[in-house]
């Protein structure tokens, strides 16, 4: 066992040593990725704001109108049901 101990320690340290040997020397250089302004492509993304603004306002109006219409429809149905029930109760 005593003779095997140095061998066991060597085997345990070997993967760590190999990993360190493969590690990069320092932080990767990113300076080469910066593109000066005068070399940018002619057309960059320009998202127009007007459709987004109009879409937002249109959604608000539509949502509110749909809700008001839904309230009106439910109220009408209930009013009919109420009138019908009152008539039935009067007959009784």
């Amino acid at each position: 066992m005593k003779r095997l101990l140095p061998l066991i320690v060597l085997c345990a340290l070997l993967p760590g040593a190999l990993t360190l040997a493969q590690a990069p020397a320092g932080p990767p250089s990113t300076q080469a990725d910066f593109v000066p302004v005068n070399q940018l492509p002619a057309q960059t993304e320009q998202l127009p704001a007007a459709p987004l603004l109009m879409g937002a306002y249109a959604f608000v109006w539509v949502a509110l109108l749909v809700y008001v219409w839904s309230l009106w429809r439910r109220m009408t149905k209930l009013e009919h049901e109420l009138a019908d029930l009152r008539r039935r109760l009067q007959k009784l």
């Binding site: 603004l53 937002a56 309230l71 209930l78 109420l82 029930l85 039935r88």
Partner: protein, 218 residues
């Protein structure tokens, strides 16, 4: 009721119809330009979403602890309005974000917590609709939980790193923008009171119908 109701309808409609004109006259923002004008509908909707969550929570508490059926009807009306105004916030926000941030959505604190708040009240409506007899009490408890979330949603932009503007934006608006903003808040608030009144009236009618059914059975 009619004496109060008709003027309320007129005020709400006039204010809301005039809001686009007021917004058009507000000065454009220096950095974001035209798309910043979504702010005048987005923020009042968010404010009313929070107010409605409080109304729903408080009314639910009154229903749970005092067994008030009228409070339960107010809670249901307010719960629907949380979902309505929440949907407006969650649609107008990304439309603004696409231009301002370059993305439709970010899983940051404010946006995520707002979505969760909206989903809590959506679940409230589903429980009320499909939960069967006795589901009002469970829904009431959910509304209390939803109400407790509102302060967290509000302060999320101040305590976490988010893309969303902080709460101090409203207090530091330029004079031209401030007038347009508060006009829109007043318009939305009038509209909210009107919708809450209408929706509560609908629930009152529903309660009358149920009473008449019971009377007919007897």
């Amino acid at each position: 009721m009619a004496r109060v109701f008709l003027p309320l309808v007129l005020v709400a409609m006039v204010l809301f119809a005039a809001a686009p004109l007021v917004v058009a006259n507000a000065p454009p923002e220096q950095t974001m330009g035209l798309v910043q004008k979504i702010f005048y509908y987005h923020v009042p909707s968010a404010m009313l979403m929070f107010v409605s969550a409080f109304v729903c929570g408080i009314a639910s508490a009154v229903f749970l602890f005092r067994r008030s059926a009228a409070a339960d009807r107010v809670a249901l009306a307010a719960g629907e309005l949380v979902v309505l105004f929440g949907a407006i916030v969650l649609v107008t926000g990304p439309l603004w974000a696409r231009k301002a941030w370059g993305v439709w959505w970010e899983w940051d604190a404010r946006l995520t917590s707002s979505l969760l708040l909206w989903m809590i009240f959506l679940a409230y409506l589903l429980v009320r609709r499909f939960g069967g007899p006795g589901s009002e009490k469970l829904a009431g408890a959910m509304a209390l939980f939803g109400m407790a979330n509102v302060p967290f949603v509000y302060v999320s932009v101040n305590y976490w790193r988010t893309l969303h503007p902080k709460t101090s934006v409203v207090m530091t608006l330029a004079p031209g923008m401030r007038a347009a903003f508060w006009f829109c808040v007043a318009a939305f608030a009038a509209l909210y009171v009107l919708l809450l009144t209408l929706r509560k009236r609908l629930e009152d009618r529903q309660a009358e119908v149920e009473q008449l059914y019971l009377a007919a059975e007897d």
